[in-house]
Amino acid sequence: MYKYDQYDQAMVDTRVEEFRDQVKRRLEGKISEDQFKPLRLMNGLYLQLHAYMLRVAIPYGTLNSAQMHALADIADKYDRGYGHFTTRQNIQYNWIKLEEAPDLLADLAKVEMHAIQTSGNCIRNISSDQYAGATADEIIDPRPYAELLRQWSSFHPEFSFLPRKFKICVIASDTDRAAMKLHDIGIQIVKNDAGEIGARFYVGGGMGRTPMIAPMIRDFVPLDQLVTYSEACLRVYNRYGRRDNKYKARIKILVHELGAEEYTRQVEEEFAHLLDQGVEPPLAELERIKTFFPNPPYDKDASDEIDRSDPDFAVWVDRNTAPHKQAGYAIANISLKPIGGIPGDASTAQMHLMAELAKDYSFDECRVTHAQNIVLPDVKKSDLYTLWQKLDEAGLGTPNLDQIDDIIACPGLDYCSLANARSIPLAQRISERYANNGKSDVLGELKLKISGCINACGHHHAGHIGILGVDRKGVENYQLLLGGSEGADTSLGKITGRGFDEDGVIDAIEKVTDLYLDQKEDGERFLDTYRRIGMEPFKEAIYE
């Protein structure tokens, strides 16, 4: 994985000192909370309901064991012994003291980590495919391109006060595991007919209160123009994105209001201008970055057999592992969704264990997924059984990847000052309901996502089943959505009808899944059945 040189380290160290100075000036009263807010936000520090929340960037979701250990230590030293992995492949700590935040950042810098631009109206941490580099279905590892863009977007002098936050995702396979088209810029690394690698740009996607799937605006940007093209996309947005209404300020609104064609025309014009401005790093820089992402030294003779004699293990293998490009290896998913647990939470001990397992069984690397789980990308098949035993012993062996109890949920009203309703307790109860009724396994792939307000941090628009918490006359109310998807076949869920209270929405979900089990034809996933039979039968089942 990428390793800082003296320049990268100097940037992060400087940021720690700058933030230390800003906190000092705030505590001395030299700057107001209004003025301090954008500064702390650009360092990922939010003032939440009960305390400060700090969001730490995990670039393209990749971590080594030293970094995971450090995250665990931080949870112990500055928080209450746990951390929360997020839908942006980051980690959040919920109980941070302002005066300790600079020290926390200094601890992060020691392991080449930071909280730069994890919040605020700037270019955020860049996300990617959690199977990058390991999966057989990609044309190339997308992470070097993400790293190139990470450096370009860090402390960008022109784009630090954008109309609104800006999220970029880079993938390199047709199977989209990162909700790429629901980002402000989604980049798919592709190969053209001549066999050259380039970048396909999708611009103007997003969730929030106005969900939109990003249209493609350029099918091939040559790699030696990747930064320049991105800069053009951002400049048009910075100059013309709406600033009169924060809810209409994301780039999706600009692209929608101008039309994709007109936005593209403006980008191309700006791009033609910027090509003469020398903003593009030389290809040698991309090549340098690529050298940090080699194939690990795989054992070429590793056996492709898995001993499935332990039935519990066999279930975990079937559900939580994915095919690897290298014979004899598998991609292993660690579910952070134990039955009745808080989605995405991990304790200090669990983080230390995952770090050790990454070191011992996955070439010192792990990944955070946007579904709030952890991936060990390069596990020898012959090690899977031992790995699973160690995970299971620590409560990390739940075999439920992509099942109904593998729930994505935002922090909701338990932590978040924006939320209208609680997400976590609802996720816990749904998980328990499906553990007790035993239906999770027969349902198969069914992605359930919960947001506690219309900002949609829990990706409810993209859930096969989505739940949106709203405030209805002072009472938490939950709307149900069906038919969303975040993959290559991205679609947005539709609301079933009037909302429910907490008990009601859980019952409604069970009616939905029962109807699916009744209606499904051979091999159909929930989403397939929904797309075949449509909303009506589900509505009837729910509201009859």
Partner: protein, 141 residues
Amino acid sequence: MSDILRFREDETVDHASVTVDAFLEQTNSNAVRIEPGDDARALLQHLDQIKLVEVNFPVFGDGRGYSAARVLREAGYDGEIRAVGDVLVDQIGFMRRCGFDSFEPEKAFDEADAKAAFERWPEVYQPTTDGRTPIWAKRHG
């Protein structure tokens, strides 16, 4: 005008600037003021006669002025670009990189804080017209 922080040796324009619209209609002024909604490119045909461009920041969070300054510098404008309005000390490092070379904040900067802000960053990732060498160029000689 002692509260203007300036990084230029030439003489300061001593009269008030006019709006972009007024400038385009009369074009006998050499000082123009850009508001966030103005298109800096409207000035590009007249850069020879302009000595001062004020870029107004009514609120610090409106970042359009950063693009305006870069657009002017990229077009070769070498007169003064002054940030005026709600200009905060934590922004002036970025502004300098975008081509601003004078600052007239509503609320004066603490001198030491301003000095620290300009000197803080030993390295930069992006090239701009300020001439600083980006990190990637240092890496590849």
